[in-house]
């Protein structure tokens, strides 16, 4: 089962996305800030991370950079309310698969995650 980690400060978003991808055959974990996310990634070895940008304790970009130093092949999809091309560029530079802005198209989120999951299954 593909392991998906949902990182968002908003609890209801985590709940909703968790239930949404559980229904689609994923093993889903949640974290509410970057620091918590890093420890979950370490302990569970998440395949895909949905990462929010604005979070307390540790924001999305810092988390992303930290993940890159950890030498993981975790795929990261940014899901953020911040519409900023510079930030999107920087995220892409750090190997983010997709930069999705909230409010998002649910099909787009679904399609992106499914595609990445397919690639992981094929590789793995």
């Amino acid at each position: 089962m593909v392991k998906l980690l949902v990182v968002d400060y908003q609890v209801d978003i985590c709940d909703f996305v968790k239930s949404f991808f559980k229904d689609r055959g994923f093993e889903v974990f949640v974290a509410h800030d970057g620091k918590e996310a890093l420890s979950v990634i370490e302990s569970t070895g998440s395949d895909i991370v949905l990462l929010d940008m604005k979070m307390p304790v540790m924001d999305g970009m810092t988390t992303l950079k930290a993940m890159r130093t950890m030498d993981l092949d975790t795929k990261v999809i940014m899901v953020t309310a911040i519409e900023d091309t510079d930030l999107a560029e920087e995220a892409k530079h750090h190997g983010v698969v997709e930069y999705i802005t909230k409010p998002l198209l649910l099909e787009q989120l679904e399609r992106t995650v499914m595609t990445v999951a397919e690639q992981i299954k094929m590789a793995g």
Binding site: D15, K102, P103, L104, L105, L106, E110
Partner: protein, 440 residues
């Protein structure tokens, strides 16, 4: 500016509903009855309060939140949400959502564009081919797709319907109620499944569609007021640059308001003319000196004094027979509504005071505040005289045209009770000079 977009209708609806259901507003099956002290009272109270608050603060979203909460509490469903298209957006997003963990769709998280099949289905009104209320039940549509031959033959419709069902699955929706304003889709009620696993009853469905209409009304009215305020604000900005153009624009705005009331056609224009003529005879009076720019403030106040009539239904404004008490109460709200429209525009705050008080009476028996004598703003006292004079001299539906002498007599007779005696004497001076004839 028709009766359609009248928020007062919402209050009508509530009053009517309350009366017709003896206070039990929600058509509930017994399984959904909430075991609580007087839930129907709560509901009535909340909704009435919400609609008032909404009117006062132009916040239809409060009403929506209230409605979503009530549905969530009283008609037990897994989740309830409201999709709305905000002004300037080309997509729909959730403005409120309630429900159990995981079921609730977070507010502002998703968006649905016009390409979304659910939106297309409702926007292009294909849903009306399936149900007369326009509401869509997931299971019913699924049945049609799977079992109904004629339905399946309509390839385009059945394809769109199945794509719509996919969208409903994404939203975990079992039931959707579209919200239209003038045939344009402005929102969708999204409902999960009933916790009892039963179908929604016909009563519940009609209740949801009624609520959808109210939301449409609330949203469009808020929009109307906002647009009007924007317009007035623009007009005022213009004033700072070009004074003459400002007055002209205010006149056309006033004319637009006037045009709704066929029986008092030209009323605003005449009241403005008479008010200015009366003011001519009030030169150097201390009350006038207290205004930064007396003539100016009077002119604009007179032009906008009935702006609140935008909130009175056409059915009342156009009524040929005498008004009922309830209808008259509605008409009376226009001075308050007018002030509410003008208050938020800081530069027009003083005008708002005058507009609010233009139906006050000198002896304190007027409305809305029952102000007395010098408590009534001076300009409002002038407009009151001009307003009454015009009401009598022009051909109103509920009154035969009277001679201007009769009108003058009425004004005189009410000096000191309804009107400020000083203004009445200025009025008489102006009248004798022939300045108070129509078009003088």
């Amino acid at each position: 500016m028709t009766a359609d977009n009248n928020w007062l209708k919402l209050q009508d609806w509530i009053v009517e509903k309350v009366n017709s259901t003896n206070g039990a507003l929600i058509p509930m099956d017994s399984e959904n009855m909430v075991q609580r002290e007087g839930p129907e009272k709560d509901y009535q109270f909340f909704l009435e309060n919400a609609s008032r608050t909404m009117i006062r603060f132009k916040k239809p979203e409060r009403l929506i939140r209230m409605i979503v909460r009530i549905i969530d509490e009283q008609v037990k469903v897994s989740h309830t949400a409201m999709l709305v298209r905000r002004k300037g957006n080309d997509y729909f997003t959730l403005i409120d959502s309630k429900g159990s963990e995981g079921m609730k769709i977070p507010v502002g998280f998703i968006r649905l564009t016009f390409e979304n099949s659910l939106i297309r289905f409702f926007n292009e009104r294909h849903n009306f081919k399936l149900s007369d209320t326009g509401a869509v039940d997931y299971k019913e549509v699924l049945n049609l797709i799977q079992r109904d031959e004629t339905f399946r033959k309509d390839k385009e419709l059945s394809t769109l319907a199945s794509m719509t069902l996919k969208q409903m699955e994404l939203l975990k929706a079992n039931f959707c109620v579209p919200i239209y304003y003038k045939k344009e889709l402005i929102g969708v009620f999204v409902l999960g499944k009933k916790l009892s696993n039963r179908k929604f009853s016909r009563q519940e469905i009609s209740f949801f569609t009624t609520l959808a209409n109210d939301v449409a009304m609330a949203l469009s009215n808020a929009q109307l007021i906002e647009d009007l305020q924007e317009k007035i604000y623009e007009v005022h900005k213009l004033y700072e640059r070009e004074h003459r153009i400002f007055i002209h624009t205010a006149i056309s705005l006033a004319a637009a308001i006037d045009a709704r009331d066929p029986y008092t056609h030209g009323h605003t224009e005449r009241v403005t003319q008479y008010s200015l003529a009366i003011a001519e005879e009030l030169n150097e009076i201390p009350e006038a000196e207290e205004y930064g720019n007396f003539k100016e403030t009077l002119h604009i106040s007179a032009l906008l004094h009935d702006v609140g009539k935008i909130g009175v239904p056409d059915s009342i404004l156009n009524k040929k027979s005498a008004l009922t008490k309830v209808e008259y109460e509605k008409v009376k709200e226009h001075s308050n509504t007018g002030a509410a429209i003008l208050y938020p525009i800081r530069e027009l705050g003083d005008i708002a005071k005058e507009v609010r008080a233009h139906h006050e009476k000198y002896d304190g028996t007027g409305y809305p505040d029952g102000l007395k004598g010098s408590e009534i703003p001076f300009i409002a006292r002038i407009i009151a005289v001009a307003d009454t004079y015009d009401a009598i001299t022009s051909d109103r539906p509920y009154r035969q045209k009277k001679m201007s002498e009769v009108a003058v007599q009425v004004v005189k007779d009410n000096s000191g009770t309804q009107f400020d005696p000083i203004i009445v004497s200025a009025f008489l001076l102006a009248y004798r000079k022939g300045k108070l004839l129509q078009g003088a």
